[in-house]
Point group: C2
Chain length 209, copies 2
Amino acid sequence: MGRRSIHTPEQLRQLILDAAAAIIEAHGLAGLSAREIARRIGYSPGTIYNMFENLDDVVLNVEGRVLDQLDERLVAELAKGGDQKALVQQLAQTYLAFTHERPKLWNLLFEHYMPGGTDTPPWYQEKLERLMGRVETAVAPLYPPDAVLERQRAARVLWAGVHGITSLSTANKLSNVTSEAAASLVTDLVGNYLAGAAIKAAPVRAAAS
Amino acid sequence: MGRRSIHTPEQLRQLILDAAAAIIEAHGLAGLSAREIARRIGYSPGTIYNMFENLDDVVLNVEGRVLDQLDERLVAELAKGGDQKALVQQLAQTYLAFTHERPKLWNLLFEHYMPGGTDTPPWYQEKLERLMGRVETAVAPLYPPDAVLERQRAARVLWAGVHGITSLSTANKLSNVTSEAAASLVTDLVGNYLAGAAIKAAPVRAAAS
DNA sequence: TGTGTGAATTGAACGGCGGCCCATGGAGAC
DNA sequence: GTCTCCATGGGCCGCCGTTCAATTCACACA
């Protein structure tokens, strides 16, 4: 069969990524295969190799879209504004909600290693840093303007901490913690961490407030 | 070929689990296969099915051993005793060190879902709860004796938080955070969280101390 | 020491899936 | 109508989990 011209190359790319994401969400990374993607989009396996280098390339691009989607959510949340302290809490809850919506898809980010231990491409690292930057933005008002390192550290700790709660709760590996309870754990983590950090900055005032 | 009696059944079980763990540590869960285990231990694939129900059963038992090994480490750390506050920090660092030693093997716990969404067997959940109990023990002296819920919550939050840092740093998904830097993030997390929690319990005294 | 017996071990075989490639022929350009 | 180009999808080759009839050996007993 020759060319179909039903879909533009870009449409085809998106079709493939949509299908791949759906498969991963339903059956995990292990359930993904070029044939299965092809079946779902009504094309043949070969088509996928015209648009992507190989399956790992497809997966990497699915990951990229997930990161972009999370970024959109965080940006939307930041745009709402509101109380500074509450903002960090809101971001954390947004992250939690996002990862709980499509747990297997989110888990993909941690299941998928690059073949041969290659590290992820620059655009991927940039997406990660962009996300981290959102948290830094939210945390910024709570720190003196010149406390750059503290801010970065806080952002990373909070990001990782919230990630830990979502990761363990979606995997059902936090003994007896349901998804709903995870939200209150996140609140507790963020609240106590920020309170503790505030003491270090200005012990007396923090305690008095 | 008939019986060899070179290994007792129990030895054979351990041989299989050793080999499986080695394969997973080297190539991830995706690299595991009954044939590969058989090759490594010098037996045939069929032998594995005499000792285990199927490959998932093997994997589950590898997970069990990993949990047991971590528990041993935590217990050893608890036995050392020492300052109460420092103890929580020590446990956290022990966890971090353990997961960084064999990252792929540790990751197994979060890559491997039970087939068909079955939940993990009771003995597995018990191992998880035993681990959580270790953290509760370490946290206990920092809370009033009757504050059971607070203690449990703190243990879960700390456990998950530390897990998040180890998870992201081993996966290289915490922008620009190396393995060594992870240790200081853990210290920061535990320190600030506990400090924040202390305020809530007794604002004035915590600030004054 | 010889022999019978059952358990342990085997490995070939089944049915299926996978990644990836390339000769083919249909679609578009002129 | 002709030609060119490129998407196509059938096919190659290999690996997988799992099974089970056949085989071989350890051991008990004589």
